[in-house]
Symmetry: C2
Subunit: 308 residues, 2 copies
């Protein structure tokens, strides 16, 4: 069997991939973009997000392990002969823990004044005592999580020791229920996928439902939120803060209001990142390759027709 | 009965105190420092840290509820007639949750790059992708907690969902055991009281035991740590970061290295702070006053001879 790797790795990681491949032939296509698909023609398995247009020239390919959760690029293949021939697996759940930790880090930073203290240190300014009445704790806070996937549930798990009252909304959410929960929310964690059904959920009217002093965190997609309305609410001091991992445009345009909105922590789509990210992806591939060889069910099999 | 309140409160909080006092007479001594102890002479109960030198002129006083955990100022009274006459209660455990939350906020901020992202936003700089391999998660981290009091245990509880391996050291710690645990520690949370036995525990030699990339957090007392050695370890990049709530001198002197040490979050002794701090202190007093009236055991009774 031949395995095509479309994925940037270090020498050490390449060594590990060879170990995983064993007697199978490994084709390392390093460098990501560009390059040739020649070696792909005879490969049965691929690791990495091989460009969709190359797949027509990969007649031997039977399984591709993506290195992302999203698979929008391959959605146009749904129902066609390529999708019929090649199984796709994604990294569903892979980023749950790092994203949930980044979200908690951001929210706790706002609650405990970490962002403010970073600024104060740069300015050489000691506020000390004077800052204490402005800090809050998460103890018993009303938290609304918009999303019910693995990240949402991991965030809920991290909140458990804080004794928060948590309400999750999955794809069966209704505007009335959501508004009712939001009207008493102290923290909102938005982590739903970007689909037609979630576009603009947090528009100006819905953000206005949030009580004074609420904190809004978005680790879902930028399309879910009216960014201008959010910037207005922060500028007016109506919301106490925001943690924003995803924006409509990334990188964020230089003149975007989020660069200067008060009490906004911009995490620059790093939520899923970690120093062991690539190593963990390789080990996940190793596990799935073992399943593939044994004919066992693959983890993370995607349904192209769902689109996310 | 007369009650002396040596404690800054708002009008609303004064109202609540009157409600708690009921038919008892309340003497509100607002403004903290200075002022007269005249009203104290006839009071049986006091709320707040009444200056130790006033207590000789408070013959009717039987119980004083401190508004702090520490009671060093009253230690010289140990064994004398005043300590014999007046019971002292402190706020043991009161700050556990806010301090533990601040400590977790600081450590998570370092792990997830929040401090760096705050700086990047100020500079209008988008790193995004490039930052991800520099982030870490707390999943399964080796954590050493130096301290075994309520804050230590609360911090341990907050860590539970992260699956960390936590080792606590109480007053029975030995240098050999501590060094062994520190040699594989990824996070050190120092939260022991400042006593003769803990002074300089984290000296230059012991900080050198920590592995490359460890994060050091001090929410105990500044006296526990060799600040210059810590600043050296941060400057050399040997430690990945530090979260410092307490320092030898507070406010931190303007020329102190901690103002500019890389990857240091200086929380300026705000760890115990929260917007409901005074309200919570008043409710704790209400509960203890009820116990006092009923002759029930008081919460937080201190042993002056222990010194902390």
């Amino acid at each position: 069997m031949e395995i095509f790797v479309f994925f940037d790795v270090t020498d050490r990681q390449a060594e590990r991939l060879r170990e995983i491949a064993g007697t199978d032939t490994l084709h390392l296509h390093r460098g990501g973009g560009g390059g040739s698909s020649a070696a792909l023609a005879t490969c049965e398995v691929a690791l990495g997000n091989v460009p969709a247009e190359w797949l027509a020239e990969a007649p031997a390919l039977r399984w591709m392990q993506l290195e992302s959760v999203g698979f929008n690029d391959y959605a146009p293949l749904a129902g066609g002969p390529i999708a019929d021939r090649i199984r796709l697996t994604n990294l569903a759940g892979f980023f749950s823990d790092p994203v949930a930790q980044s979200a908690l880090a951001g929210v706790l930073a706002l609650y405990r004044g970490i962002d403010r203290l970073v600024d104060l240190r740069r300015e050489g300014d000691w506020l000390g005592e004077g800052l204490r009445p402005r800090l809050r704790t998460l103890a018993g806070a009303n938290v609304v999580i918009f999303g019910r996937g693995t990240i949402a549930r991991r965030f809920e798990a991290l909140l458990a020791p804080f004794g928060c009252r948590v309400t999750l909304f999955g794809s069966d959410w209704t505007g009335a229920d959501l508004d009712e929960a939001l009207s008493i929310a102290e923290v909102v964690f938005c982590v739903a996928p970007g689909t037609d059904a979630t576009r603009g959920v947090f528009d100006r009217d819905r953000l206005a439902v949030l009580p004074e002093g609420a904190v809004f965190a978005n680790f879902g997609r930028g399309s879910l939120v009216d960014e201008d309305a959010l910037a207005d609410a922060l500028a007016a001091g109506r919301l106490a803060g925001a943690v924003i991992d995803v924006t409509l445009q990334e990188p964020l345009p230089r003149d975007h209001r989020f660069w200067t909105s008060p009490n906004l922590i911009l995490t620059q789509h790093t939520g899923g990142g970690s120093d062991d990210e690539v190593d963990r992806k390789i080990e996940l591939f190793a596990d799935n390759l073992d399943r593939y060889r044994r004919g066992a069910p693959l983890r993370g099999l995607v349904d192209l027709s769902r689109g996310y």
